[in-house]
């Protein structure tokens, strides 16, 4: 068996993320690929188009790292605990340079990923009737249904150059298992040209084959699989560690002042070699506080025919 897809994060980002390319980074509050985004910042990738439904802290960091020219999103905010100040500075015309922003709703982004993953030229949805969004986003277009003659809005596919997602575990071949909030991860992977998956742990193939329904991304859709423990911090990984709510609350103050934000990027990304430095810098007590208790599911019977 070949293990050609097993890489370091540095290798995977260098191999698949290039200046000027488009990147889908997904994870709905859960399993956000922070470590991969930090590596993009560390490698100083430039002029990216970023697709992300819930543009939160990870996007603020990428923008502050000067990696992003265009953002395509359906929600830009740090849940209810503050603003993304770098993003707001750029959109409100107060930053060092502007950011192109293309606004959708969640339903629109999901439809775009479905079109992209299905190889379709567009996808219809029941949103946007009477909305101002089509006036500022000319990709949201109306057609007449060939069946009932009714008007319906459609959106184009997302087919990013590279998709990056985080997951609980994978085997060395790149079969990826996710549980808890699975979000849009499967559609995102199938919509992209190349797929990088960071995981909490690489496990034996036996672990994966004991529960095949939990494999959301089969190895055929995965190009790089990277073991990055704690790779989703400060977001969470169900069954591994909880969300670092304190950091989410601190981000408002960190991002409010541009210099404080640049100092944060320097201390927590540029001065560190890789994510293991970041984990070590936080210290073991820090991780103990976030560790998830053990709540296993009951096994199911996958038995088939008597031999």
């Amino acid at each position: 068996m070949t293990h050609a897809k097993l890489m370091t994060l540095s290798e995977a980002i260098a191999a698949f993320v290039h200046d000027g390319c488009s990147v889908s980074l997904e994870g709905f509050t859960h399993i956000i690929p922070y470590a991969a985004a930090h590596e993009i910042i560390r490698q100083q990738k430039r002029n990216l188009t970023v697709y992300r439904m819930t543009a939160d802290i990870v996007v603020d960091q990428l923008i502050a790292g000067d990696c992003v020219d265009e953002l395509v999103s359906s929600f830009i905010g740090n849940s209810s605990v503050g603003s993304l100040h770098e993003l707001r500075r750029r959109i409100e015309g107060k930053g060092p340079r502007p950011l192109r922003y293309r606004e959708y709703s969640h339903g629109g982004m999901i439809a775009r990923y479905l079109a992209g993953a299905s190889g379709l030229p567009f996808y219809p949805l029941l949103s946007y009737a009477g909305s101002d969004l089509p006036k500022i986003n000319d990709e949201i277009r109306v057609i007449e249904s060939p069946y009932d003659g009714q008007k319906i809005y459609v959106v184009p596919p997302i087919n990013a150059d590279v998709a990056i997602v985080h997951a609980q575990r994978a085997d060395a071949k790149g079969n990826v298992q996710i549980w808890g909030l699975t979000g849009i991860q499967q559609e995102v992977a199938y919509s992209a040209e190349k797929v990088i998956v960071t995981v909490e742990e690489i496990v034996d193939e036996d672990v994966i084959t004991s529960d095949p329904n939990r494999t959301l991304l089969p190895s055929h859709v995965v190009d790089a699989v990277v073991e990055v423990p704690k790779g989703a911090h400060p977001s969470f990984v169900q069954g591994y560690y909880d969300r670092d709510g304190a950091f989410y609350r601190q981000w408002n103050d960190i991002s409010k002042d541009p210099q404080t934000l640049q100092d944060w990027l320097e201390e927590w990304i540029h001065e560190l070699t890789d994510h293991s430095d970041y984990v070590a810098k936080q210290g073991p007590q820090f991780w103990d506080q976030l560790a998830s208790p053990y709540v296993p599911s009951l096994p199911v019977n996958y038995g088939s025919r008597q031999s």
Partner: protein
């Protein structure tokens, strides 16, 4: 503690949560974000709607959290949940197929037809303030049977004659644009002063309820459009002792959301 003593100590959030919970008596499935809407649904579950179920924007159905969740996607909502759906199932099958009775939304601006703005203050291309945007609000509005809006502040800059931008259009705008709307749009707006209601497309939001001691003329003055007062205006009863004690002792004992 007497009823009068409790009434004088009711916080605005408690009042909004209790009033919203009473409106949920007929609802079975509710799409709600974390905060006052979930508090209201939890109280309704204990009072007027024992079979009510929250469906969260993260895809969690039938959650049984051991502690109060901080976000719609909190890990405590997953542990012990009855189901966790992916985004395609949630938005395309649950919402678009019409499984939501009541959707709860908030917004920076609402107009008299119940259209919502959560995108920008000012011009979209050159905003004075950039707001988070739709999230799933446009889909909740388009696909729920009806929508309730909770506005903590009742003021003319939030309840406006004209939206700066329409993020989540109601059925009247859909009809005007030549579409067939599916749901009723906003039917209730619960604010710090009272309740605004409408029952069908073509109707404006009317002032249908005020809290004890609130002058309807003050509500009209605090509204950015020419708010009409219903000829069936009622005084919304104070939260009862039972509602208050359930809210304070069972639903949110640590006062995470009952500020």
């Amino acid at each position: 503690m007497t009823d009068t003593t409790q009434a004088t100590q009711i916080s605005p959030s408690e009042l909004l949560a209790v009033v919203a919970s009473r409106e949920l008596a007929q609802a079975r499935t509710v799409f709600a974000g974390i905060g006052l809407p979930t508090v209201a649904v939890s109280l309704a579950h204990l009072t007027c709607a024992p079979d009510i179920e929250i469906i969260y924007e993260s895809g969690v159905c039938g959650a049984h959290p051991a502690s109060l969740p901080e976000t719609v996607a909190d890990s405590v909502l997953i542990t012990g949940a009855e189901a966790v759906l992916d985004m395609t199932a949630l938005f395309n099958y649950v919402l678009q197929r019409g499984h939501i009775d009541v959707g709860f939304l908030g917004a920076a601006q609402i107009d008299k037809w119940g259209n919502l703005n959560s995108s920008v203050i000012g011009d979209w291309a050159h905003p004075k303030v950039r707001l988070p945007g739709s999230g799933g609000a446009a889909e909740v509005m388009a696909n729920s049977k009806e929508v309730y809006v909770v506005m903590r502040r009742h003021e003319a800059r939030s309840l406006v004659a004209e939206l700066d931008f329409c993020t989540s259009p109601g059925p009247d705008r859909a009809l005007a644009a030549g579409f067939t709307p599916r749901g009723l749009g906003v039917t209730k707006v619960i604010t710090e002063l009272g309740v605004l209601s409408r029952t069908a497309p073509g109707e404006e939001l009317l002032l249908t309820g005020v809290y004890p001691g609130v002058d309807p003329a003050d509500v009209v003055a605090a509204t950015g459009w020419d708010l009409k007062v219903s000829d069936q205006l009622t005084v919304v009863p104070h939260p009862s002792d039972v509602e208050l004690s359930l809210l304070r002792e069972e639903v949110d004992p640590n006062r995470v959301y009952l500020r």
